[in-house]
């Protein structure tokens, strides 16, 4: 029983600590994005791969799916285009 308890405590600790390790990158919340959706110079790139994409219900309408993590697709956009990478 103590072994099971120890396993649970370890897992909970890891779960709580996980966000601390997340890198700080420039982000945009969903309301901010929603307000800009449809803008001419905005392109949403759905960079989720595998299950991250296939098992998520949330797929942004009009988003361009980047398969295989190949970001060379961005070469085709004007420099003034605002690219939003949707990764999670």
């Amino acid at each position: 029983m103590s072994r099971i308890l120890a396993v649970w405590i370890l897992a909970l600790s890891l779960g709580i600590a996980a966000p601390v390790f997340a890198a700080t990158v420039s982000t945009m919340d969903k309301d901010e994005l929603r307000a800009q959706l449809g803008a001419e110079n905005l392109v949403v790139l759905d960079v989720r791969q595998g299950r991250d994409w296939s098992t998520s219900e949330y797929k942004i309408q009009g988003a361009v799916r980047v398969e295989g993590g190949d970001l060379s697709i961005t070469d085709g956009y004007d420099k003034g285009t605002r690219l939003v990478l949707y990764c999670a």
Binding site: Q49, R51, S54, T55, E57
Partner: protein, 430 residues
Amino acid sequence: MSRQILVTAGFLFPWTFSPDALTLLGNAIGAGGLLFLPALAAGALLSALAILLLHHRTPPEQAAPNPYQSLAAGLGPVPALTLILAGRLPVVLLLPTGMLVSAGFVWNEAFFHSFPNFAFSALLLLLVLSLHLAGERLVVAGQILFLLTTLACLLLLTGVGLLSGGLPAGTVTANLDGRLVAGGISTALLLFLGYGLAPPGRAAGSAEIVTALAAGALLYALWTLASLANVHPDRLAASSLPHLLTAREILDQPGRLLMAVAIISGTGALVNGLFFQTSTALRQLAAQLPRPTLVLPVRLEALLALFYSIAIAAALAAGLAGSDALAVYIHGSLLLWLLLTAALCFTAGGRLRRLGRRLHLLSPPLGTLFLLAILWSAATAAEAARLGSFCLLVLTTVALLSLFLSRLFAGRDKGGKGHDKSTNQHRQGE
């Protein structure tokens, strides 16, 4: 439904009501329309015949030999070991890796946005590991709970879907195509995988296993009708979550939440059931080894569950679920599982022929059909080359491992320890 049928269904068909199986089913419904129903019936019938072959009791009061004994008698120990390891290990490691992520996403998106999906996947894995560390009684209780929850959600959605939907879309005449039928049958054969072993407790006879299979096939058929009555087949075929789409169309937000519960409990059932199935298969293998190698400080099942969990957690942490390759690996794992089942059908035929049972006549055509289904499924896959490479790599690796283990233990056995008496034991799952 008696408890034994529930246990049988829960442990032999944990994959059948898992999220990935529901996706496979939904896409097949979308591709075939109503034509998928006869393909489903054919797949269920072939699986039922395989159950009759594999679980035929000879004499009636005893169960059939376990898979290793059956394969070793027909093919020799190294091929037997190879087929069992190739048919079991990728399934127990890769399917949970994928589906725990599915469950994590569903939890995060349907119930608790601020709770990380990865943390939920880890907690669900830990819950199953805890059951296996605690012992078989809790494993069985957990499996019944997972199964009943999944079935209750699916039955409710199916009932409402049938009552509220219109006429099913997708007519047989419009979609009549031999390729669709072949694809539908091979998909159905994959969906019903799991009957190669016996469930825990007293050895189940073929009648109980066939009953569990028939109940599952009936629910699948009703779900097919409910899906086609509420969603256009093209949308089902194109969706990566056709079951969730159907649930939403049937009951809107409550339907979505019901399906989310079914996905989470179905994942729990899958991981718990596969851990049990694989540990049973490996314990049967371990029983063939000389006794001194089996002295362990803890139960073998607990140790194996810990091993699976660590491997799955490592795969999750390494981001395997975020790779497109995982879908191919899961497909390959299912094909190797079907290959194991085909081999069991062939070797069961030999045993029944020696015993003078006419049932053995089923063995060659059934095993051949299973092999054809594997070839069809592999050849028509989107990434056939990668799929073939994966299967060959797994088979080659486990063949070398099997050869090594076989030599190792054959050498140790020269000391006169002899094989475990369970080589003559005829009760599966013991």
